[in-house]
């Protein structure tokens, strides 16, 4: 499937781009992270500490074990600091 991957805040800065499109057969967010980390140093650095990373699948807060079947957009970002 084709997935839009979005990055925000310092994850965007470490990756060096706000979004990318990838072809993947990852079943879960965790599988997707493994594929992304294998892409190179920037991805590996950005996603090295998963405790400091939050994820949204199709714009809904989710977790590493969430299934990706049917998903179109996955976003990675640090814990939010709104308000």
């Amino acid at each position: 499937m084709t997935l839009d991957i979005l990055y925000f805040a310092w994850l965007r800065e470490r990756i060096g781009a706000p979004r990318e499109q990838i072809e993947t057969s990852a079943a879960t967010v965790r599988d997707l992270v493994a594929e992304l980390v294998a892409r190179g140093e920037r991805h590996a650095a950005a996603l090295s500490d998963l405790g400091a990373v939050r994820v949204a699948v199709d714009q809904v807060l989710s977790d590493l074990d969430a299934p990706l079947g049917g998903a179109r957009e996955v976003a990675f970002f640090p814990p939010m600091t709104g308000g």
Binding site: L6, F8, A9, W10, R12, A56, Q59, V60, L61, A75, F77, P78, P79, M80, T81, G82, G83
Partner: protein, 147 residues
Amino acid sequence: MRILVQTEPFDATALMQGFGAGAGAVVTFTGLVRDDDGLVALEIEHYPGMTEASLTRHAQAAAERFALSDVLVAHRHGRIAVGEPIMMVATAARHRREAFDAADFLMDWLKSRAPFWKREIGAEGPRGWVVAKDTDEAALDRWTNPQ
């Protein structure tokens, strides 16, 4: 119900016009950029699409949980100078307890669940990203794990 996500400053007076008509209690919360450590501005990044959807969903949840007759959330993104409002929440209910609790709940939720990220800007330029606080997480827990 009204949700606003914008870069421009918001006009609190205009937003509050007619807000809470028929209610007995109206609470507003406004968050402003504090002049901390020579801060010049905040720069706020957000997740277009998810921001509006999640603010709407949580404003609706607050309206049901606290029996609100009206609710408003306005949040800016982009560069916001010291002294300017960043965001505002308003709640209207029959009685004060519900209006207070709903505004308090929405703020706790906004602080750690709405997709906004802040970076500090000093006179010397951008500083680091603001780190999420454990106390914000604990504040949110109050609403699911009542003591």
